[in-house]
């Protein structure tokens, strides 16, 4: 029996995956790369947020500052590291993102230590009931923040000059240069914005999981699945796919005994494999057509 409650839980979980998936999509759309360090960078953001909260700042202000710092961290990562691999084999840059992952993981252990901490919620603890299901304000807030983010991102990419410039640089960097666009600076912007989205995902999930250096690893797996399933270059696709994964995972975990809680992480991957068999470009992706 599929309960409304399972759907609601699925959408809540899916919204967290979606936030990180949006970061992946943003990097992919602006630089053509998949950033495997996106989750680890988000974890760094969460720890920075935790430290800011510890200084006595209100949570919302701490989160806002965290997002600003994330912007800088993302931009610096591109400028200092990823820039060196620009214009080479994409695989080299992708391996470099794995190196970034390991570095940031070590950084967290170095600065904050491995001990588990707790992160306060942005939203009140009360529970709301609707249609026979129950959700916390945290869940409702997560979904609302995510929905707002998607709308802003779509408008940004499709309606602003900076959005068009980012799409141009990602589609064809050498043409972008011939059109006078400073491609390097655009990549920097893309990475900075993606780190903000990742930090947002981290701050949304942090209240409900213990803080530890690998806290975003599992979420990254779901987010990667969602980003690929959604077509990699479509923010809307990533969100729909993330919700789908969240719902299928929750429903399957609760109703199919074999899956239970141990095999839940396999659910998005199986779903991914099945859908890509039918639609290799993902749910919302564009099929790449090359004229030779």
């Amino acid at each position: 029996m599929i309960a409304v409650q399972q759907i609601v839980d699925g959408i809540t979980a899916g919204s967290i995956y979606a936030a990180l998936a949006l970061a992946l999509v943003l990097v992919y759309r602006s630089t053509g790369l998949v950033n495997f360090a996106q989750g680890q960078m988000a974890a760094v953001s969460v720890y920075i947020g935790w430290s800011l909260v510890e200084t006595g700042l209100p949570v919302w202000l701490a989160v806002l500052l965290t997002l600003l710092i994330s912007l800088v961290i993302g931009a610096l990562t591109e400028r200092l590291l990823i820039r060196r691999f620009e214009g080479q084999e994409p695989l080299v840059a992708i391996v470099a993102t794995v190196a970034v992952l390991i570095c940031f993981n070590g950084l967290i252990n170095l600065v904050w230590g491995g001990s588990v901490r707790a992160f306060p919620s942005l939203f009140p603890d009360d529970v709301v009931s609707f249609l026979g299901a129950r959700a916390t304000w945290g869940d409702v807030g997560t979904v609302a923040v995510l929905a707002g983010t998607v709308v802003i991102l779509q408008l940004f990419f499709l309606r602003t000059r900076l959005g068009l410039a980012l799409r141009t640089a990602a589609d064809n960097p050498s043409s972008a240069r011939l059109l006078g666009l400073p491609v390097g600076s655009l990549l920097l912007v893309g990475w900075g914005l993606a780190a903000v989205l990742g930090g947002l995902a981290g701050c949304l999930v942090a209240p409900s999981v213990p803080l530890q250096p690998n806290m975003m690893d599992t979420i990254l797996v779901y987010a990667l699945a969602a980003a690929v399933l959604g077509g990699l270059d479509s923010p809307l696709g990533a969100v729909v796919a993330a919700w789908l994964i969240g719902i299928v995972e929750t429903v399957a975990g609760a109703n199919i005994d074999v899956i239970g809680s141990d095999l839940r992480i396999a659910v998005p991957l199986v779903l991914l494999a099945l859908i890509l068999l039918v639609r290799p470009q993902g749910l919302f992706g564009h099929r790449d057509v090359e004229r030779l």
Partner: protein, 236 residues
Amino acid sequence: MSLLEVAGLRAGYGAAEVLHGIDLSVAEGGATAVLGANGAGKTTLLRAITGGVRRSGRIAFDGTDITARRTDQIARLGVGHVPQGRGTLNRLSVRDNLLAGALLRRNRREVKAGVAECLQLFPRLGERIDASAAALSGGEQQMLAIARALMGRPRLLLLDEPSLGLAPRVTAEVFAALHRLRTESGLTLLLVEQNARIALDLVDDAAVVEAGRLTLTGPAAEIAGDDGVRRAYLGV
């Protein structure tokens, strides 16, 4: 006064030198064609001018030395470059391709007028304005690449083999538009082409590049009458 002045230009990829000292100038409002066979260095010449390859010597645009400038800086000075293979933004719509060409211009009304001018020059693009660039035919992509470069309001337009891979009828259509650009807006052109006949018909001056050196330069009519050129490039 010449808008583009190239002197002693050497250029190449890695250790391989492709151009061994090129001297060339294009007058403001003029048009020059560089003819040559595959691999003679035509594409490298254009890439060297817009900073896409290793280069030495001197390249001046409107009196400014651009030899050491970055590609995007050279573009912002007013050099448009329609690259070989067209370089269209394939995941973007035709409209977004055009708007991408005008990203450095701030006046929305002027940009809108620019799009209208481009669609007037290439009506076919208007019919496909919402299609993705990848879905266009080769000829339409070439038109889009030229239109996109025009959206940046260049003072000098570099064209890399606009006839490549196009049917004769489509080539004629593209060159008719280039003729219009010359006569109506006085745009300065530097064209590299294998199709000597159609190129010489468009330009004032021409040069022949062979193995990285210019072997012949002069007015287009003179080049068209040259026995060697007639045999090698015009098939007579």
